[in-house]
């Protein structure tokens, strides 16, 4: 059982949680995630660890409402318990001093991008971050990103914040004006697909952090499998980061929809 120590809304559908998890707070690194189960009837869902405070024994999770489980989580308050929290899972991001890093975060992907941006910055890289979302409300963590980036470019579909356009427009602009040594893209699968296509044109090594469906998160079930470079990989143990140019995003997009109908049904039940 893990207690919610702090909760703060960034917008109506996005909140930050600080959760009591002393061991995980000590052992986690950038790129790691946890699996949580909110209550007895809940599913096991993966959430990236956005930060931690080892002294206080807490980890930070940033949650956006996308379905039943995230809605249930957002309904919890300070002092409430989350039934199960396990981690840290996945491989940590390989952080190195490479020069200039172009970080691209789309919507839900902005939260998991934050610890990576921070780690690359702290390793002495020049970090340029492009944040993109449908509208202003979905651009989260802009302030924190600015703290750990040399520059932040905001792109929205409707132009309600930053510039109007897609994440790839922002990326192209940066690539056009300076030498980028590494790119990291995190967001919805379609966004990562196009981000990868963009950097591929310029032969820039790119990492994508994949958010597949998971069950156990320990390599036991294969629900999270993706094709990378023609081979099947398990995102929870082989990833979550992979060479974006090798990932079969089209297959991943289909697989993400595996339970679409069930999710809609479950959400309706939840609202009742």
């Amino acid at each position: 059982m893990s207690k919610i120590i702090e909760k703060e809304f960034f917008s109506e559908n996005v909140a930050r949680f600080e959760i009591d998890a002393p061991e995980i707070a000590k052992s986690r690194k950038a790129g790691h995630f946890v699996i949580i189960r909110i209550d007895e009837k809940g599913e096991r869902i993966p959430l990236t660890i956005a930060g931690s405070n080892p002294e206080k024994g807490t980890i930070t999770l940033i949650v956006q409402k996308v379905g039943v489980s995230s809605a249930k989580l957002l309904a919890l308050n300070e002092g409430d318990d989350i039934l199960d929290v396990v981690g840290p899972l996945g491989k940590a991001t390989h952080i190195d001093k490479v020069g200039t890093v172009l970080a691209a975060g789309g919507g839900v992907g902005i939260a998991p991008l934050l610890p990576i941006v921070r780690a690359f910055k702290e390793a002495g890289n020049r970090v340029i971050t492009v944040l993109a979302a449908r509208n202003k409300d979905l651009i989260i963590l802009e302030e924190q990103m600015r703290k750990y980036s040399d520059e932040v470019i905001v792109m929205t579909d409707d132009g309600s914040s930053g510039r109007k356009g897609l994440v790839t427009h922002g990326m192209e602009e940066v690539i056009g004006r300076e030498d980028v040594n590494l790119s990291v893209a995190i967001g919805p699968a379609v966004m990562m697909k196009y981000a990868a296509l963009t950097t591929k044109k310029y032969n820039i090594e790119t990492l994508a952090s994949l958010n597949t469906i998971m069950v156990d998160g320990t390599g036991m079930c294969g629900a999270c499998r993706v094709t990378v470079g023609g081979k099947t990989k398990f995102v929870c143990v082989d990833g979550p980061e992979f060479d974006a140019h090798q990932v079969d995003f089209d297959e991943m997009l289909l697989r993400l929809n595996a339970y679409k109908q069930e999710e809609v049904d479950a959400y309706e039940r939840f609202l009742k």
Binding site: R44, V86, V215, T218, A258, A266
Partner: protein, 491 residues
């Protein structure tokens, strides 16, 4: 248990008397007890346990069939060497709690083993009836279950005595049968034992894999409760090697580690289309249903309840998956297996139960490719027919493809159940640990000690996919080995 003790016990007064009471001829005239089973057409729609156990009179009558042989070969067939005639004779004299006690001398989880052991390949294969009389063996498995259930239901569960606590901390990694058996022995020796489990439930495969209709969770929980009463501590949601490292735990004072992390990595066949939606590993399929309760309306985890389900494989896991599919409402629940029925590794009883429940068996068939619709959902598969050739290294006749026999079969759900590989989490987190090229941990067979002095290992992580009883046996061997190691270290 050594031969001398077994012999001495056989010559105790009560055993001598008992043998005199009924003539061998009368004993062998009896016919093997039949297990009471639920109606196949009712049970294949719910999760009630299929086998209902033997009634008291039937159990006693079955116990009378046992000849209490001078040379009890059945014991050789048991991987943990249960004193089989002794527990059966206790049943014959209606000392059922006494029978359970005998079982527990060597088997930590008799109620589990009575349900899931492949007795027909072990004790019952070595029974005098099988070997010499060419008759049906004594139903040792049924009797084991009977005695263990009797004890569980009696409310007089004996909590084994534990030695004076010695204050030495020991960690068990994984709460499957290997970890539980190890913990039971270590706590009895007086150690301070903590079992760390990655998942949110204790029990390993017994909980997330083997379905309720074959092994009810309550049966496992009683045993786990017992361990708690003996002083074993359980920590869920804790992945050793990730949540904390071995070094962290050493600093916390742990003096020895038993790695029983299982063979949790599912194998796939690497054929085209295998990542289509609706194709699962058996681990995923069974975990969704057993651990996450996906089939229950009010639980959030979803599962596919396909109309036409194909399960690839012929082991216990495949049987569990296909019978689960039937229970979730499949009109066609099929086993696709590349060898014939006789080569199937599953327990004979499971195959029989599956057949009764309307499972279709496509033996000598092998999948080559899957086809998906525009949404990526599997809609059919290409199968190839096989025939049996020469025996291979496992002694089973090797399946050989028949050229030109390919055909397509419609299916909306596929469960791939072609074996598991060792869980790589622990080996990955320990650079100096010696592993085989299959990823299993290398241990000394006598003590189960690994290449790292304070780390012992057993169960599926050492053997690859094996059995509950072998995992338990390893746990007990490791406990003896670690006891010696820790005592020497602390001298």
């Amino acid at each position: 248990m050594d031969k001398e003790t077994i012999k001495a016990e056989r010559t105790q007064e009560w055993r001598l008397d008992l043998r005199k009471q009924i003539k061998a001829k009368e004993r062998t005239a009896g016919i093997r007890a039949k297990m009471t089973e639920r109606d196949p057409n009712v049970r294949n729609k719910n999760s009630d346990e299929v086998n209902m156990g033997l009634a008291r009179e039937l159990a006693v009558a079955e116990a009378q069939r046992c000849l209490d042989c001078a040379n009890p070969t059945c014991i050789n067939g048991c991987p943990v060497g249960i004193n089989i005639p002794k527990f059966i004779k206790k049943i014959e004299v209606e000392d059922f709690l006494g029978a359970a006690k005998v079982l527990k001398e060597t088997n930590t989880l008799p109620a589990v083993c009575g349900r899931v052991c492949p007795q027909e390949k072990q004790c019952e294969a070595q029974c005098f009836y099988t070997l010499s009389l060419k008759k049906d063996p004594v139903a040792i498995g049924f009797l084991e279950r009977f005695a263990a259930d009797f004890e569980q239901n009696s409310g007089e569960m004996s909590i084994p005595e534990v030695a004076e606590p010695n204050g030495l901390k020991i960690a068990t990694i994984g709460s499957g049968p290997a970890g539980l058996a190890f913990a039971a022995d270590m706590v009895r020796f007086g150690y301070d034992v903590t079992v760390f489990e990655a998942l949110h439930e204790i029990g390993g495969v017994l909980k997330y894999g083997i379905p309720e209709f074959r092994l009810p969770n309550t049966v496992v929980d009683v045993e786990i409760d017992n361990l708690r009463k003996m002083g074993v501590k359980f920590v869920k949601n804790f992945i050793v090697g990730r949540t904390a490292s071995f070094d962290d735990l050493r600093k916390d004072g742990y003096q020895g580690f038993f790695v029983a992390s299982g063979a949790g990595l599912p194998n796939f066949m690497d054929i085209p289309g295998e990542n289509s939606i609706g194709i699962f590993s058996s681990n995923e399929y069974l975990t969704r249903v057993n651990l996450m309760n996906a089939a229950k309306e009010d639980y959030d985890t979803p599962v596919f309840s396909g109309k036409s389900v194909a399960v690839i494989g012929g082991g216990n896991t495949a049987m569990d998956a296909v019978r689960t599919a039937k229970r979730l409402g499949a009109e066609h629940a099929r086993i696709i297996y590349r060898r014939s029925l006789t080569e199937m590794p599953a327990r004979v009883e499971e195959v029989k139960h599956a057949q009764e429940e309307g499972i279709e068996f496509l033996n000598l068939n092998n999948p080559l490719e899957y086809f998906a619709d525009k949404d990526g959902r599997v809609k059919s598969m290409k199968l190839q027919k096989m025939e049996l050739g020469e025996p291979d290294s496992s002694g089973r006749r090797r399946p050989v493809p028949i050229e030109g026999s390919e055909y397509e079969l419609e299916t909306d759900t596929v469960v791939v159940s072609v074996g598991v590989s060792p869980n790589p989490l622990i080996p990955q987190s320990l650079k100096d640990l010696e592993v085989t090229r299959w990823g299993t941990i290398v241990v000394d067979k006598e003590s189960m000690q690994s290449s790292i002095e304070d780390i012992f290992a057993g169960g599926d992580i050492v053997r690859g996919g094996a059995t509950v009883i072998l995992a338990m046996g390893d746990g007990r061997t490791a406990a003896a080995g670690m006891h010696e190691y820790v005592q020497n270290k602390n001298k």
